[in-house]
């Protein structure tokens, strides 16, 4: 058994950490947080140059052709740095959808552009309240045009293209849903930025009015493709969440060592020590579940659906728990805009909803465990 990343992969993680420490310090995150720019364009360019955007994209489509384990270690570092770039939308969602379902022409057009940093992509799935479900997809596709409104769409205001889930039938089955690829700078698209919990990652409303769109994957296959995309993204996001959780734990630990109250470092009070110990426990469980997800993702194992759901649940809980208690350890300082605690708190809670809520994934995990037990 070798249930660990390889030395090369660990080296890549160190390289990513070093790069992000230099190019994405809290100061850079705050430029986006304060709304001075919608995302960090310099960082995006740098990530492309490092080969990080295309790390899991095959060489024939302009990527590094490394693989998903390599993408996992980079994702962890992106989460740790709270990188204010459209990495998850573009790399975990759009690129993965193209890899799973794109035609050769579509892959040739978009994947090299993603790897080089020229194209930002996203997934337009949600329509207001609710979780991923075919019945929540109301936007229609007929005769090659889309009509309807998607909201919220992560990074929608800065994306060049979107993978759009559309209704193409009314049988009440999953096969009512098909996917389309839309260039967002073309006609028939109206984009509006929305304020959201985590200003370091934008959210938008996108209205499609008789908008021309090309199919992505076969008609009626949309939901099955989406399920695969969401499972993959769940694992990759889990690594971001693990990175964020670890960082929040580290900030709390450092503050507890530094801050003196009642004549002692607050880290010497058991109430604080035990809070931090519990954060370590949830972060460790999340890391281990995520490693299993990474294994399943990288080997395309039959266990992926179950592993992805467990990783998603565990990592969501850990990041929320660590981000919340990191503020608590900081006392009044934790509740200021100036300290970075709230940045992770915002990211943790926004990420908890991005691919469907915690309760949605809990539901999924039980379904998938039952399926396995029945088999």
């Amino acid at each position: 058994m070798n249930f660990d990343f390889s030395d090369d992969q660990k080296q890549l993680r160190d390289q990513a950490r070093k790069f992000l420490a230099e190019k994405c310090p809290p100061k850079a995150v705050r430029v986006v947080l304060d709304g001075k720019t919608p995302y960090d364009k310099e960082l995006w360019k740098g990530l492309a140059e490092m080969g990080f955007l295309g790390v899991a994209i095959p060489e024939e489509f302009g990527g590094a052709g490394a693989g998903h384990l390599e993408l996992c270690v980079i994702a962890e570092e992106m989460g740790r740095a709270n990188a204010p770039v459209p990495f998850s939308s573009t790399v975990y969602l759009a690129a993965e959808a193209l890899l799973i379902a794109g035609s050769d022409a579509q892959k040739k057009k978009w994947l090299p552009a993603i790897a080089s940093g020229e194209a930002i992509g996203t997934l337009a799935l949600f329509e207001g309240k609710g979780n991923p479900s075919p019945k929540n997809v109301k936007l229609t596709a007929a005769n090659g045009v889309l009509n309807g409104v998607k909201k919220p769409v992560a990074d929608g205001a800065i994306a060049d293209f979107a993978v759009v889930a559309a209704r193409t039938g009314s049988s009440g089955r999953d096969s009512d849903i098909s996917l389309f690829l839309v260039e967002l700078r073309a006609g028939g698209v109206e984009v509006k930025s929305l304020t959201n919990l985590d200003p370091t990652r934008g959210q938008a409303e996108i209205a499609f009015k008789d908008c021309k769109a090309e199919p992505l994957g076969a008609a009626g296959e949309g939901w099955s493709i989406l399920t695969q995309v969401l499972d993959r993204a769940a694992v990759l996001c889990a690594f971001e969440q693990v990175g964020g959780a670890d960082r929040a734990l580290e900030m709390g630990r450092d503050y507890a060592l530094d801050r003196i109250a009642f004549g002692r470092p607050i880290g010497s009070f058991q109430a604080v020590k035990h809070m931090l110990a519990d954060m370590y426990v949830s972060a460790t469980l999340a890391r281990s579940n995520s490693y299993y997800g990474a294994w399943a993702l990288s080997t395309n194992a039959a266990e992926l659906p179950e592993a992805a759901a467990a990783a998603r649940i565990s990592a969501t809980q850990a990041f929320q728990h660590c981000a919340k208690n990191n503020i608590q350890v900081h006392g009044g300082m934790g509740f200021t805009w100036e300290f970075d605690c709230h940045i992770y708190y915002r990211r943790a809670n926004a990420m908890a909803l991005g691919l469907g809520s915690l309760s949605y994934w809990e539901d999924q995990l039980i379904d998938r465990m039952r399926k396995k037990n029945a088999a």
């Binding site: 058994m1 660990d4 060592l257 058991q270 460790t284």
Partner: protein
């Protein structure tokens, strides 16, 4: 990243599997499979008897304490081979319960500090299950703070004479030998005046009194010592070095991997699948699903944490501290799961018999037994302290008694 055995590991697994197939007590398989939470229910057998039989067979096949050197009864196996053995031994591993303290803690301490003669005399018999060992550490006034213990050992010629009392000693009533930590010098600070011994539990002056537990069972005991004579040759480590010796014992306790930790999740999954609520099976209820999924994710988190530890072992690395979370997480989870299972069972949940409505009372047993998981082998609070101090590097607790001579420490009615 992979879960595959190396060719050597695969060959070892195959050998182990074949031996187990040919030798395991298959007639017990069904009952052992149904026994959970370290609570073995065998209709027609005593766990110590069948445990001894299995241990003896393993010893004869060279599979007992297999990570020990051959000359002391083991097989000289690597740590990863031991893990593979445990995986293959599966439910039969539950039969090793009476020997776990000996194999996990007493044996390694004798191995590290015993004379060559003692090692050759005692370790093979411990491995074969012929002699059972217990751990005599905790006292009425010294549990978490075990270094505060009062049991005295005084040197008389070539012997030591022991007076005092131990408590919570698991298995003392069927043990042949005990690992004993006692105070040999009360005039120095508490950690410095301790010495480690082992003794024959049948020595004159040793009295074992069973204690009835909160769950109604009797697995632990009080042990009284009245002028018990222990030869100096049964001292482990230097006089006054007992604390360091005990750290070896406890470290070994932590090193033994939590692969066998019960979490209650499989039992709960089965209950929720079978239990009918008013609107259908419990597992279709969103509130039930949410809890069950959270527990399942925790349980798989523990499983893959132990896999990470095994991988470190497999590379010859020492397991990291992440291993210490196992008991902390599973202890609380067992208790929560038991409480919720009974909530789902409603009125019938109060029954503790072999009732069909309560899945034979297994969650009721879990409820009554689980508090011990959070206390024995280090309480939840002590484990959190360990994580906070050893893993996260936070300051140690303020110790008011650390540099004070033991006999000057204020006590409550000692």
């Amino acid at each position: 990243m992979n879960f595959d055995d190396t060719p050597q590991e695969a060959a070892f697994r195959e050998t182990a599997r074949r031996w187990i197939e040919a030798n395991a007590p298959r007639e017990l398989h069904a009952e052992l499979s149904k026994s959970s939470l370290g609570r073995i229910r065998l209709a027609n057998h005593d766990i110590v008897d069948v445990g001894k039989a299995w241990q003896k067979k393993k010893f004869e096949g060279n599979w007992a304490c297999l990570h020990w050197p051959r000359e002391y009864g083991g097989r000289g196996a690597t740590p990863i081979e031991k893990v593979i053995w445990q995986q293959e031994e599966g439910v039969y591993g539950k039969l090793t319960q009476p020997f776990q303290i000996g194999e996990g803690m007493c044996g390694p301490t004798v191995m590290a500090f015993g004379s060559e003669e003692a090692k050759r005399r005692y370790l093979p018999k411990l491995a074969s299950g012929e002699e059972i060992w217990c751990q005599l550490f905790s006292e009425p006034s010294a549990g978490s703070d075990v270094a505060g213990l009062r049991t005295r050992a005084e040197k008389k010629g070539d012997n030591w004479v022991v007076n005092g009392q131990k408590i919570w000693t698991s298995g003392a009533h069927y043990s042949d030998y005990g690992l004993l930590i006692a105070r040999t010098d009360p005039n120095v600070p508490k950690h410095k005046g301790l010495t480690m011994f082992f003794l024959d539990m049948k020595s004159p002056g040793v009295e074992v009194r069973p204690i009835k537990q909160a769950n109604g069972m009797q697995e632990f005991n009080e042990v009284y010592f009245t002028d018990v004579v222990i030869p100096d040759s049964q001292r482990l480590g230097a006089v006054g070095d007992g604390w360091n010796v005990s750290l070896t014992t406890l470290m070994n306790e932590r090193m033994s991997i939590g692969a066998r930790l019960a979490t209650g999740v499989p039992e709960m999954f089965e209950l929720c699948s079978n239990l009918m609520l008013e609107d259908g099976p419990a597992i279709d209820d969103p509130a039930v699903r949410s809890k069950l999924a959270s527990w399942a994710a925790k349980s798989s988190g523990l499983k893959y944490t132990s896999y990470r530890t095994i991988s470190a072992l497999s590379k010859g690395e020492r397991p990291g501290p992440e291993n210490s979370i196992g008991k902390l997480v599973s202890g609380m989870m067992l208790q929560d799961i038991a409480t919720y299972a009974m909530d789902l069972q409603g009125a019938a949940g109060v029954l503790t018999g072999n009732d069909e409505e309560t899945a034979q009372g297994q969650f009721q047993q879990m409820l009554l037994s689980s508090p011990s998981m959070r206390i024995a082998g280090g309480t939840d609070e002590i484990l959190r302290n360990i994580i906070a101090e050893r893993v996260l590097g936070l300051p140690g607790d303020i110790r008011v008694d650390k540099d004070v001579p033991y006999n000057k420490i204020p006590t409550k009615g000692r």
